[in-house]
Symmetry: C2
Subunit: 354 residues, 2 copies
């Protein structure tokens, strides 16, 4: 970018669930380092007006020319759109920061959580930087801080994932299902929740494979080998890459719950040394992007419905495992559309802008 | 009991959430070994008529005389009522089978899951047999079968617990909360779910410590030392006692979810030897009270809303841990009011009747 001029930022997918939160975050910042902010989406949205920092901004259709003059392009679009278009943005001179799954495990693409490995934004042979999956991200600020201090060795996690992890379509489906079961005495005989959804005329096709209202669904993502889901393997592989621990032992079970936004995780983490709860608390308190909410006496703990919309990761229910040495159990909540997606991507862009 | 006469069964707490399911189970059985079935509850319910196996039965108030002639008394009442009255039933000549937490960890009281340790019903120095907590019970048929074959060593579990674990009061609250949020775009800003509950006039006092609709609550039971909840310690201590493994390593995180009935658990279980998934499947298939529902290709897995009302424990999502030797990850669903409470108690009574 030319010396003295402010960099141009592009948001590709500005009209989606993540893109909308991205604009929210930019509008909420006291100051931003950007000159022009360009909004890009599919031709369907071209011409749409969106207010960015007080000025009306017109969405343009994705095209190679849309990247002319762009310094940093944030991609909040489906995998296949990122796979095709991030390299084109780079060719046109931009650095691409991608929120999709297209490049995360590419050894030539850094996978960045600024609190954990900010310096890696500068090692980007392909001109692309990847943003982790939302489930992994929701615990990374907390885990990264503990790892730095105590050396993480093993991780057993169970997720409580929100509907918006499946995009706006997921949110709409959950609202429709809640409306369909409300006021009915269902959930007391097998299948009566499903019957209530059918009776209300909801399409059989759902992003969740099973009813989500008054239910939990132990499936997120697509089917991978040996019974694992893509989401569970992402938690394992992305945690290893972000933390720089290729041999980290991980088992994850990913479960969708009827929560609109904010992923929660029950974490059982084993370290290279003993971690007294008091020391863990101090580490969390020293980490500006983590909020400690953990007071059993006052029944203080985080829940997703209270944390949604917040930028930090909330941590509570911290306990030293009674039977496993060097092990902590705790519960984290992180807004999957903020730290889990738009916010982390934006923080990468801020790191690049310096 | 007199030779040749059928034993008399008493149900103490016949009007509660568990007691109601108990009567359901008795009504659904092809045949029962009982002569008289006596229904007992608080004086509030005395005189109430309930149909048991086609005949109208009148609830009597709890009193020492109510146990006269009773051979087996099933207690489905709060802890303090069991603590006081189970010994009185025994004094009057009955065997007490208790569903509350009052006697579970008493070394002179066996804690029985018939599939796992049926023989222990005969070792009852106090005349009392205890039924485990519903969260522990929801996974015990599955875990007991695996332990018998492969030798269980370690257990990391996260629960997805239903509202009815907190009794009828919990169910009523969840229904009221779902009605209060239905049709509203809440769950997108911190606290707006809570505001919707207040706006709908719901009492602030709730059995769940936080909103449960469109939320999950990482707290169940009461506060114990070092940040643990009573529910989490029950999972640890009762699993050890039932399986007869005093040194079993256990970490549990108990989380309430907006499901009406049926508890689910994500289980990470380590054994004394390697457990290929195919062998685990064979063990589950050989266990009559376990249903295997696990076909990733067809997206078949159990969910609580489909399993509610069923007697067996459902198991799915079975995976061999990628990084932990001798370890399986799986997901179980068990109806907390059936196998998790009334059914297991009833099976103990059936075992006693021979
Ligand atoms: N939701 C989450 O929690 C989350 C978290 C982390 C990462 N992510 C990832 O972020 C990405 C966006 O997710 P989302 O939930 O925001 O999805 P979404 O709500 O479906 O939005 C998709 C966006 O991509 C645009 N788009 C789709 N196809 C396009 C095309 N062919 N050309 C140009 N633009 C196109 C859409 O534009 P139109 O409006 O014009 O169709 C829209 O702006 C995905 O890769 C997702 O996996 C999501
Ligand atoms: N819900 C579960 O998932 C679950 C699972 C396992 C174990 N348990 C245990 O089972 C027991 C019953 O639970 P629940 O959920 O069925 O509770 P509930 O719905 O509140 O029912 C309580 C029952 O106890 C009776 N009762 C209360 N106080 C009494 C008194 N002073 N004298 C005589 N009867 C009295 C009530 O009679 P009235 O109707 O006359 O008041 C009612 O029949 C508890 O110990 C609970 O911890 C529950």
């Amino acid at each position: 970018m030319a010396l003295g001029t402010k960099p141009t930022l592009a948001i590709v997918g500005a009209t989606g669930a993540v893109g909308t939160v991205m604009i929210d975050i930019i509008n909420g910042r006291g100051s931003v380092p950007w000159g022009e902010i360009r909004l890009i989406a599919s031709p369907r949205s071209a011409g749409k007006k969106i207010t960015v920092r007080g000025a009306e901004n017109t969405v343009v259709a994705l095209s190679p020319e849309a990247f002319d003059g762009v310094d940093i392009a944030l991609f909040d679009v489906p995998d296949e759109v990122s796979a095709e278009w991030a390299p084109i943005a780079v060719e046109r001179g931009a650095i691409a920061v991608d929120n999709s799954g297209a490049f995360r495990m590419d050894p030539e693409v850094p996978l960045v959580v600024p609190e954990v490995n900010a310096a890696q934004v500068h090692e980007r042979p392909k001109g692309i930087i990847a943003n982790p999956n939302c489930t992994t991200l929701s615990m990374m600020a907390a885990l990264g801080a503990l790892h730095h201090e105590f050396g993480l060795r093993e991780l057993v996690v169970s997720s409580y994932q929100a509907a918006s992890g499946a995009g706006q379509e997921g949110v709409d489906r959950l609202y429709a299902e809640v409306a369909a079961v409300a006021g009915k005495q269902v959930g007391v005989r097998g299948g009566d929740v499903a019957e209530a959804l059918t009776a209300a005329g909801l399409p059989e096709e759902t992003p969740f494979k099973a009813p989500l209202a008054l239910n939990v669904v132990p499936w997120a993502g697509s089917r991978k080998d040996d019974g694992w889901t893509s989401e569970e393997l992402k938690v394992r592989n992305e945690s290893r890459k972000i933390l720089g621990i290729p041999e980290l032992k991980v088992s994850a079970t990913c479960v969708r719950v009827p929560v609109v936004t904010t992923h929660s995780l029950a974490v059982h983490a084993t370290f290279a040394q003993d971690v007294p709860v008091e020391q863990a608390r101090r580490v969390f308190e020293a980490q500006p992007t983590v909020v400690l909410q953990d007071d059993p006496e006052r029944m203080a703990f985080p829940t997703p419905a209270a944390v949604v919309g917040e930028e930090p990761t909330y941590v509570g229910r911290i306990r030293q495992a009674l039977d496993f040495p060097n092990t902590l159990d705790f519960f984290v909540c992180g807004d999957n559309l903020r730290k889990g997606a738009a916010l982390n991507t934006y923080e990468i862009a801020e790191t690049l802008a310096g």
